[in-house]
Amino acid sequence: MDIVSILLNLFTPSVFLVVFAGVLVGIVVGAIPGLNGAIGISLLLPLTFTMEPQTGLLLLGGIYMGGMYGGSITAILINVPGDVVAAPVAMEGYPLTQQGRAKEALYYSIFSSMFGGFIGVLVLILFTPPLARFALQFGPAEMFFVSLSGLIIVGALSGSVLKAAFAVLLGLFISTVGVDLITGSERFTFDNIDLRSGISVVPVVLGLFCFAEMFLNIGKKPGEQVQYRDQTISRMTVVKDILKQRFLVWKSGLIGTVVGLLPGVGTTLAVFMSYGDAKRVSRRNIPFEQGNPDGIIAAESANNATVGSSMVPLLALGVPGSPTSAIIAGALVIHGIVLGPSLFVSRPDIAFTFLYGMLLTVVAMTIIGAVGIKYFSYILKIKMEYIVPTVLVFALFGAYSLRNSLFDVFIAILLGIVGAIFKKIHVPLAPIIIGVVLGPLIETNLARAMRIASARNMPLWEYLMATPLSKGLVALVVIMLIVVIRMRHKEKVAAKGVKNA
C-alpha cells in the first residue's frame, strides 16, 4: 500500500464530508453534559453499515476525536465539563472565563487538543506493532501499580489534604457498590437490581460537576453573576505560547499515549496524571485552579492523544483499549474485517486509509474548533437564568441515555446536591472522580494478582514484583509519592512566608 493510493483514497469529497460531519457530531455530543463520544458513536453506528468500511470508520473516528475536544467548551464557558475528561480543563478554564479571557482559554484548549491529537495519531501510524506488544506486558501486577500511581495524583491537587483524602475515599466507596467483579458477592446493594449493576462514572460526573454548578446558580440575583467581558486575543499569540511550552505538550501527549494504550485504564487517568504533572512543572507565576493555561495545555493534549493510542491494541491485536474503541471494533467486525496482526496484511487498504484518515480528523477538529470559538463564546452572552434550565435538561437526558436508566438520573441529582454542599465547604470534587475510576481497577487487579499468586504457589509480593516492568512501576509510585510530599511541603512553606510578610 503506497502513500499515493492512500492519499487518493482519502482525498475524495465523500471522505472529507464524512470526517467533518463526524467531528462536528463529536464536538456537539462532547459539549453536551452527559453525552460523550461513545454515545455519539453508538447512535451513528447503524449508519456506517451501508458505507464503505474506511469511510464508516472515519466517521466514527471523527466522532471520537471531536468528542474528546467538545467537553472542554462547556467546561471553560460555564464550568460544566461536557465529559469526565474535561474536568481538569474546567478547573483552569473557568477562572479564565471569569477574568474575561474565555476566548483565550478556548484557543488554548483547541490548539492543545490539536497537538495532542497529532501526537496520538502519529504514534498510531508509526509504532503500532511494538506498542501493542508493550501494552500486552501489563498484567494484574502492572495494572495495579499504574492505578495506584493515579491515586497519588490526588495529593498533588490543591486544597486541604484532609478534605482531598476524604473525597477520594468517598469516590472509592462509591465504586464498591454493586456486584463485585471477582468474587460475585453483592456489596451495598440492598437487594436492589439497580444498585447491583453499580454506580457508573457518568452520572457521578454529571451530578458533581453539572448539577452542583447549576444548583449553586439557582437563586443568585443577576447582579451576583459574573459579568463577562470578551477580551480579544489573536490565535497566533496562543499558538506561540503553547509552542513555548512544547516540552509540556510532548510530555502530556506521551502520558496520554502510554496510559491510553492500557485496556481498561482509560483516558480519565491519563488526563489527571498529566494535569497533576503540569502543576508540578509549571513555570508560570499563576497558581493552579486560578486560570493557569498550563493546566489546559496538559489536560487537552493528553486526552486527545489517547484517541490514537487507544486504537493501537485494537488494530494490532483486536483488543479494544476503551469503551469507545470497543464500539468501533464492533463496527469493523460487521464489515467483516478481522482485527489483529493479520489486518495490515489482509486489508491494508482499509487499515492504512483509516490510520492516515485519523490525521484528517485532527485537521477537521482544529478548523471547526478555531473557527467556531467566536460562536461558542456567544454562550456567555446568554443570561444565566436561561442557561441553568437548558443545561439541566441536557444533563437529565444525558444521565438517562447512558444506560436508559432512571436510576442514573436519580444518582446524578443526588450527587448534584452533595456536590453543591461540598463546593460550599471547599471539599474538592475531582478526587471523588479519581476514586470512582481507579477503585475498581486497583481492587480487581489486586484480587486477580492474589488468585494467580496462590495458584502458582508464590507469595503475593513475589508475584507483584516478578517482572522488570512492575519493578519500574513500583519505583514510579515511590518517586511520585516523594514528589507530591515535597510539593506539598514547599506550598506550606510558601504559604507561611506570605502570612509572615
Binding site: 453508538s42 454493586g178 491485536l317 467486525v333
Partner: protein, 319 residues
C-alpha cells in the same frame, strides 16, 4: 338524546372493535428491541442486523435500545416486565437468562419469555496462551492433572465461567478461574501470557490465533464451517457441548394475531441472503430456528446446563 346514549353505550364495543382492527394492522408504530448488553458486542450486532431486516419486512422502524448492567440481568428483567403488546421485544444470548435465573435472585424465570426465534449458534471454546507448552487437549489435560489448581483460566461472564467449570470437571482437572470484565481485557491477559487459558466464544478465534494463541477445542457438536482446523472437544473424547445462541423474545402473553404476524415475518426474513451475509461478515455462525424449533432446542439445553449449574453453585457464587 337517544342517539347520544346509544353511542355512549356502544362505545366500549366500538373501542373493542377498533383494537381488534389495530391488532390486525400490527405494527402501527415503531417497535423497540431491548438488548441487555452494551453497543458493539456480539449480542448487539445480532440485534441490529435482525432489527434492520425485520423492520423492513413489517414496514415499521425498529429501534435497538441497549440496556446493559449486572451481567445482562437489568435488561433481561426489563424485557420480562414490558407490555406483551408486540412493541417491545428483546434479543439476548441464551443461556444468560437461564444461568442468571439459577444463580441469582432474579425476578424473571425461563417462562417469562416467549421465544420466537434463534439466529445463531456460537460454541464456547478453550484457547491457550502463546507461551504455553501444550496445543492439544490431551497435552493440556496431562499437564493440568499433574499440577492441580495451578492452571489459570480467564473468563468474562456467566457462561464463560460455567463453561470453564464444566471443562475442568469433565477433564478431571482442578483449575483456577479468574474473571475479566470484558472480552477485550480477557484477550489482553491471554495474549500477554498473564493467564494460561481463556474460556470464550468462537468469535474470539481470529484475534487470538492471529497473535499466536492456540485453540484447544470448541464445545460444539461438530467442527465449525468457519474454523475447520479446530477440533471439537467431542472428537477428542471430552463430552462437552456448550454455546451461546441469540434469541429474539417477547414477554409472555402476546396476543395470538400479533405473535402470528411476528413469526411469519421472522420466517420470511430467515432466508434473506443479505442478512445472512451480514452474519457471515460479523463472524457470527448463522443458524435460524423458528419458534417451535427454538423451544425444543432450549428445553434440551436447559437439561444439559442444569446439572452443571447445580454442581458448581458454590464456585459460581463465591469463587
Amino acid at each position: 338524546m337517544k342517539t347520544k346514549l346509544a353511542l355512549l353505550l356502544s362505545a366500549p364495543f366500538l373501542l373493542a372493535a377498533t383494537s381488534a382492527v389495530q391488532a390486525q394492522d400490527y405494527p402501527t408504530k415503531n417497535i423497540q428491541i431491548i438488548v441487555p448488553y452494551s453497543a458493539g458486542g456480539g449480542g448487539d450486532t445480532v440485534a441490529r442486523i435482525v432489527a434492520d431486516r425485520l423492520g423492513e419486512e413489517l414496514g415499521q422502524q425498529i429501534n435497538v435500545v441497549n440496556r446493559e448492567g449486572a451481567g445482562g440481568e437489568i435488561g433481561i428483567d426489563e424485557i420480562a416486565r414490558s407490555d406483551a403488546d408486540g412493541y417491545t421485544l428483546g434479543v439476548f444470548g441464551y443461556p444468560d437468562n437461564f444461568v442468571l435465573e439459577h444463580t441469582r435472585d432474579t425476578s424473571f424465570t425461563f417462562e417469562s419469555f416467549d421465544y420466537l426465534a434463534a439466529f445463531d449458534d456460537m460454541p464456547m471454546g478453550v484457547f491457550a496462551s502463546p507461551n504455553s507448552q501444550y496445543s492439544t487437549l490431551e497435552a493440556l489435560v496431562s499437564y493440568g492433572q499433574e499440577r492441580p489448581g495451578e492452571l489459570i483460566i480467564g473468563e468474562s461472564g456467566a457462561l464463560g465461567l460455567l463453561h470453564a467449570l464444566a471443562f475442568a470437571e469433565r477433564s478431571e482437572m482442578q483449575i483456577t478461574p479468574i474473571r475479566y470484565s470484558g472480552g477485550g481485557e480477557l484477550m489482553n491477559a491471554l495474549l500477554g501470557n498473564h493467564i494460561d487459558l481463556a474460556s470464550t466464544s468462537s468469535m474470539s478465534h481470529d484475534p487470538i490465533v492471529g497473535s499466536n494463541g492456540k485453540p484447544i477445542g470448541f464445545a460444539a457438536e461438530e467442527r465449525m464451517e468457519m474454523f475447520p482446523d479446530v477440533p471439537t472437544f467431542k472428537e477428542q473424547g471430552l463430552d462437552l457441548v456448550m454455546g451461546v445462541s441469540r434469541v429474539l423474545v417477547a414477554p409472555t402473553g402476546l396476543p395470538d394475531d400479533i405473535r402470528e404476524a411476528l413469526i411469519t415475518a421472522l420466517d420470511a426474513i430467515s432466508t434473506n441472503e443479505a442478512m445472512m451475509a451480514n452474519f457471515e461478515n460479523a463472524a457470527i455462525p448463522y443458524r435460524y430456528l423458528d419458534d417451535s424449533a427454538v423451544n425444543e432446542m432450549l428445553e434440551q439445553s436447559n437439561n444439559v446446563l442444569m446439572p452443571v449449574i447445580e454442581n458448581n453453585l458454590d464456585q459460581i457464587n463465591g469463587n
